[in-house]
């Protein structure tokens, strides 16, 4: 069994919310070591060497992301993105609830690495309990002197501000998150300028995922080579995958990257009795489906990308043959249409259009032309949006429409096309 316990070490066994428990297991040691022994550049270098790629969805190498910050002496900020809202993903919430100190230590290390004295923790509005847990943890760390001025007697000071979102999926997008942090409407910003150049309050900013930051203490502790040696060379390390769907034991499992999907299915207990898996969505709601023949692919960033999908946030949803993919498609499209901020045209109008079309198909009003319409509309709204939300609709929809077209055709009752030739 390739399940490992790095980030998840101790979860379910001890109360990691207690700072003492966490410290006794080696917690905050790396923080202390970083401040007392290491320069920020060392940590950045170690992160680069480890090959850590962002765990939030895009998989961008964290070290490189940090390197984009301009060296202009302006204040810079680290923002921890805990607005986990991708359908099928529930790993950050678990980390927040179970190991808040590990997350906090990651934030502190990240902030130190980029030379920031102010870190922000953006917690999704629905994570009420997670927010309380984290605030408690922060209070404990502050009391212990890990957060504040002159930490560990050095002249380094750091503040951590916790901000709660209001439940918009789009605020998981880094620029929308920054807008939300600033008290504005949670809409993605126009890029360029990128947050690394002009982010929160107009200053250079890095936004990192909870899991990414929580990995930092382990890289420091075990060295970058330890991390880099796990998994494929270009996607090294461990990943918490959130397995759900038609499996017997859905849940978060921490595995090395590169584990085949079929093995992940087995870890989650395999398909239900007498059923077979026909499709799998490997990277959250925004990713295209893989199908039964792809189950032996190794689960890593590059392989997924090569097969037209993505690893994303590590949320794997298995579908067996009982799935109604029309309803599944509607569920996801409705989600994206509902969560569209409404700023840019293709996402706002296209999502709504797909939603009403799928609704009509499901309610028996489908037209022969609707199948093509779904593919055409979803394709033409992709690639021309301000932020990735609009581009997230097509992958799943198009992949299941193409693969399970008979299911969609089965709903079409009225064959005639209403298209009027122009």
């Amino acid at each position: 069994m390739p399940v490992v316990n790095v980030l998840t070490d101790g979860i379910g066994e001890v109360n990691l919310r207690d700072i003492d428990v966490y410290r006794n297991r080696g917690g905050y040691a790396q923080w202390q070591r970083a401040l007392t022994e290491l320069q920020p550049e060392n940590i950045a270098q170690m992160t680069s060497d480890s090959g850590l790629r962002g765990r939030g969805g895009a998989g961008f190498p964290t070290g490189r992301k940090w390197s984009f910050l301009p060296k202009n002496g302006r204040p810079r900020y680290l923002v921890c993105n805990c607005d986990e809202a991708e359908p099928g993903t529930f790993k950050d919430h678990m980390l927040l609830l179970e190991t808040p100190h590990q997350v906090l230590e990651g934030i502190l290390l990240g902030a130190y690495a980029i030379g920031s004295h102010h870190a922000f923790m953006y917690i999704r509005g629905e994570f009420e309990q997670g927010y309380r847990v984290f605030m408690e943890a922060l209070a404990q760390a502050r009391a212990a002197g890990f957060v504040g001025q002159n930490v560990f007697g050095t002249d380094y000071g750091i503040e951590v501000t916790v901000h709660r979102g209001a439940g918009a999926y789009i605020c998981g997008e880094e620029t929308a998150l920054l807008n939300s942090l600033e008290g504005k409407r949670g809409e993605p910003r126009l890029k360029p300028p990128f947050p690394a150049v002009k982010g929160l309050y107009g200053e250079p900013t890095v936004v990192n995922n909870v899991e990414t930051l929580a990995t930092l203490p382990h890289i420091l502790k075990n060295g970058p080579q330890w991390f880099a040696s796990v998994g494929p060379p270009r996607s090294p390390g461990f990943k918490i995958v959130s397995v759900s769907g038609h499996v017997r034991r859905p849940g978060n499992y921490e595995v090395p990257l590169g584990t085949p999907l079929r093995e992940l299915l087995e870890i989650a207990g395999g398909p239900r009795e007498g059923r077979t898996i026909v499709a799998v969505q490997p990277g959250g709601g925004s990713s295209a489906c893989l199908f039964a023949e792809d189950l032996d692919l190794p689960y890593d960033f590059d392989t997924m990308a090569q097969h037209g999908t993505m690893l994303g946030s590590g949320a794997i949803v298995f579908f067996d043959e009982t799935t109604n993919f029309v309803e599944a498609a509607l569920a996801l499209v409705r989600f994206f249409a509902h969560e569209s901020c409404g700023q840019c045209t293709p996402c706002r109008e296209g999502g709504h259009w797909l939603e009403v079309t799928l609704n009509r198909i499901l309610s028996g009003g489908g037209l022969d032309s609707d199948i093509d319409l779904l593919l055409s509309v979803s394709h033409q709204l992709t690639g021309i949006n301000l932020c990735p939300l609009g581009d997230s609709i097509e992958p799943f929809l198009a992949s299941v429409v193409r693969r399970f077209e008979p299911q969609f055709r089965g709903y079409v009752r009225r064959p005639e096309s209403i298209l009027v030739s122009a």
């Binding site: 918009a168 789009i170 409407r185 126009l190 360029p192 249409a337 509902h338 969560e339 569209s340 901020c341 409404g342 700023q343 840019c344 045209t345 293709p346 706002r348 109008e349 296209g350 999502g351 709504h352 259009w353 009403v356 079309t357 009509r360 009003g365 037209l367 032309s369 609707d370 319409l373 509309v377 033409q380 709204l381 690639g383 021309i384 949006n385 301000l386 209403i418 298209l419 009027v420 030739s421 122009a422």
Partner: protein
């Protein structure tokens, strides 16, 4: 754009044409230099890119995806294609999405005919919709505020309106509410959208979602006859288009290319105060007083009576017994004629100062609008430019919000600018904020000459220190600077208007001709005493549009023409000579003041300059000024304001001092006789700071009376408003309201509270938010 480095140029290729533009230029702007068409909705040169509509997609070689031209800066060697299959496909897709839920009601849409969406859908639209379901249903004909109606179905969420309200006016009341397909333009507070610049959003709106109430369904763009002219409502001199149809002014529009003066914006007064010319109360025939009544007479008789009255006065008591007051409504040409005719008659009692403003020429440091925008520190003294010169205030807001300038005020008035303002209370404070500043712009209201004189000497000191200072004078009358420059001032021993009133009181003034001025409502001596003096004049002639408070005292009323109905020139507060063009036909029976004067000169057999001569004098460049603010030459012996006195120290015994401010919709005249503005006209109000209100125990909506400390004058029925930005112990009232004329009060006067009525005691309809 803070570092003004050497402008580097970048060479790129657009549609095969090599182009060289300054570095940092956006592709959409660079594309304008070649003959190509990049459609835009959300992008606006003054608002910058937003990247929302996605219609401006272009293909840039070596980039996999289509890029939006509005947010892509040019780069060296970039190869851009604004046409081609990929681009057309992308735009067609965006167009389909834009039109998906957009109603096809172009035939009844006010934007139809000048609508970007309509135009581009001809180019990129598909002709038929693939949407098989009903279009989304959204609110229509939503009343957004007193001036604007929203049709949300037509909205394409380009957010130009909200960004205008954010970036340009800084008022930030318009926002997008809800999200996704359900989003709707609304005010953040839920209150009606009130702004002095609200009309601009209808022009910015690329579709017909935001429309002006005054123009709704009045006309179609192709019906309008457009005249470019200069706005004559205030002294900024914004260029504007007047759209006329069937003899009525359908609307006014800003001139987008007018970067030098209006920056492409108009205030709501300039835009919406267009109903007065057709008001039923307009005077359209000369009126001669017969006892208590007026009789309509013809122009021949009117000119004859006028000439006879002047001759009688000249014959009986000489030129000293004749006076002329030429208000700001006059054009340069008319002023030239008036001055020349009076010179011919030997009359020296000339003046333009019918109100509080004493001076109109900013003097030797006079600056341009561009210099104001470039200032690091802007100092407003007296009444705030936001009410006296609204579009000028937009430049102040721009300088503060976009160029990092600092805005300070001196005096007891709230700035009303929606940008960070530092109110200063003493001359020392002013000197303190000046440290380290290189470029200063000073805006003065021209009222308190003594304050102006001290300001002038301070400015001289700053200039001596090497500070670059530009000065501006934003007053009440629109062509005051023209009047002053062209000699509409007391000549060689002649009396200023206040002196004329004095002479009238003593029976020494036999004849007074008033052109386009209403001193009864505006002169700081107070309505009662001005009216009293005017009534003692044996022969009072008033050229007016309406039967104003002053005209009601006249023996002969001459029906004049509005600024839309005559042609000539004006000089704005920055000293630009601007043309005024006739935009529509005047009602029969009226005459432009200039034509009246020509007729009068002919009747009097007096020699006046010919048309070429008049034009040459009216358009001549302004002579270089040598004086500064508060020059003694402008003194009239009237103290119209003690704003400086109010700025420092504590009020006297009553504990309350008055600040007489202005409002862009106050001032009587064209506003008072324009029913389309009924909802925009301010009520007589008393604005207090929260602390003062608490001390006096008055509440929002209460009505109260104010008495002058002598008890002679009063202002009655003022609605109490509370403004956190107002200074303590000051009650701010609005000048120029015919219901409660405040012209007998001066800034800084001590006042006491008279009777007060609680809000509850009033009819609910009278209580305003």
């Amino acid at each position: 754009m803070t570092e003004a480095g050497p402008p580097q140029s970048v060479s790129l290729t657009i549609d095969g044409t090599p182009v060289t533009v300054p570095a940092g230029t956006l592709v959409v702007e660079a594309a304008k230099t070649v003959d190509t068409d990049v459609p835009v909705y959300c992008y606006h040169p003054k608002l910058g890119p937003a990247g929302l509509c996605r219609i401006c997609l272009v293909e840039i070689e070596r980039l996999p995806k289509l890029q939006i031209a509005c947010n892509t800066p040019v780069a060296e060697g970039m190869v851009v294609h604004t046409h081609g299959q990929k681009v057309e496909d992308g735009r067609r897709a965006v167009m389909e999405f834009l039109l998906l839920n957009h109603p096809l009601d172009c035939p009844i849409c006010d934007k139809g005919g000048e609508c970007d969406l309509q135009d581009f859908s001809m180019a990129y639209g598909q002709g038929a919709s693939r949407l098989a379901d009903a279009k989304a249903s959204k609110p229509k004909a939503l009343d957004l505020g007193p001036t604007i109606v929203l049709d949300d179905e037509r909205c394409i969420v380009c957010q130009r309106c909200t960004r205008f309200d954010d970036i340009i006016t800084r008022e930030r009341s318009l926002v997008v509410k809800d999200r996704g397909q359900r989003d709707v333009i609304a005010t953040a507070s839920g209150e009606p959208y009130r702004s002095n610049f609200s009309g601009n959003v209808t022009e910015l709106c690329p579709v017909g979602a935001l429309t002006s109430k005054t123009y709704r369904f009045k006309s179609r763009p192709w019906d309008n006859h457009r005249t470019a002219t200069t706005c004559t409502q205030c002294s900024v001199g914004c260029q504007l288009f007047v759209d006329e149809r069937y003899g009525t002014i359908a609307r006014t529009m800003s001139v987008p290319s007018d970067d030098a003066i209006s920056d492409g914006w108009l205030c709501d007064r300039g835009r919406y105060n267009i109903g007065f010319y057709a008001d039923a109360r307009r005077i359209t025939a000369p009126l001669l007083r017969r006892g208590e009544q007026y009789v309509q007479i013809g122009w021949d008789d009117a000119v004859e009576a006028w000439a006879a009255g002047l001759r009688d006065a000249l014959g009986a008591a000489g030129p000293q017994a004749v006076g002329v007051l030429g208000g700001g409504r006059l054009l340069n040409e008319e002023i030239v004629l008036l001055v020349a005719l009076m010179q011919e008659l030997g009359v020296t009692n000339l003046d333009w100062r019918a109100g509080r403003q004493r001076q109109a020429t900013p003097g030797r440091y006079a600056g341009t609008y561009a210099e104001l925008e470039a200032a690091q520190l802007i100092l407003a003294v007296g009444r705030p430019p936001s009410q006296t010169a609204p579009v000028l205030d937009l430049r102040i807001r721009k300088a503060v919000s976009q160029r990092g300038a600092r805005y300070v005020t001196y005096g007891g008035h709230a700035a009303g600018s929606f940008v960070g303002v530092t109110p200063l209370r003493s001359a020392d404070d002013v000197e303190n904020v000046l440290s380290g500043v290189e470029r200063v712009a000073v805006v003065w209201d021209g009222i308190d000459l003594e304050l102006g004189a001290r300001l002038a000497s301070a400015i001289d000191g700053w200039v001596a220190r090497g500070v670059s200072v530009t000065t501006y004078l934003s007053g009440e009358a629109n062509n005051a600077r023209g009047a002053e420059a062209l000699g509409m001032v007391p000549r060689s021993g002649g009396l200023p208007f206040t002196g004329m009133l004095d002479a009238a009181q003593n029976g020494r003034l036999r004849s007074l001709s008033i052109f386009g001025a209403n001193p009864v409502l505006h002169h700081p001596l107070g309505g009662a005493s001005v009216a009293n003096a005017l009534e003692r004049i044996p022969f009072l002639v008033v050229s007016e549009l309406f039967l104003t408070e002053t005209a009601q005292r006249a023996h002969l009323i001459l029906p004049a023409r509005t600024g839309f109905e005559k042609a000539g020139h004006v000089i704005n507060l920055a000293g630009d000579v601007l043309p005024v063009h006739q935009a529509h036909a005047a009602p029969p029976g009226t005459l432009a003041d200039g034509d009246m004067l020509v007729a009068l000169a002919a009747e009097l057999a007096a020699e006046v300059p010919g048309p070429e001569d008049v034009l040459a004098r009216a358009t001549a460049a302004l002579p270089a000024a040598t004086h500064g603010f508060g020059d003694a030459a402008y003194s009239e012996g009237v103290t119209a304001s003690k704003s400086d006195g109010m700025a420092a120290g504590k009020p006297g015994g009553g504990g309350l001092r008055i600040a007489v401010g202005s409002d862009i919709f106050a001032g009587g005249g064209t506003i008072w006789f324009d029913e389309t503005l009924a909802e925009l006209r301010p009520d007589p109000a008393a604005t207090l700071s929260p602390a003062t209100a608490a001390r006096l125990d008055v509440h929002i909506g209460d009505r109260l009376d104010l008495l002058s400390s002598s008890g002679d004058d009063s202002l009655q029925g003022l609605v109490v408003r509370i403004d956190a930005g107002a200074p303590d112990d000051v009650v701010a009232v609005i000048d120029g309201l015919p219901e409660a004329p405040a012209n007998s009060f001066a800034d800084g006067d001590n006042v006491v509270l008279g009777a007060r009525r609680a809000a509850d005691a009033l009819e609910p309809a009278l209580v305003l938010p």
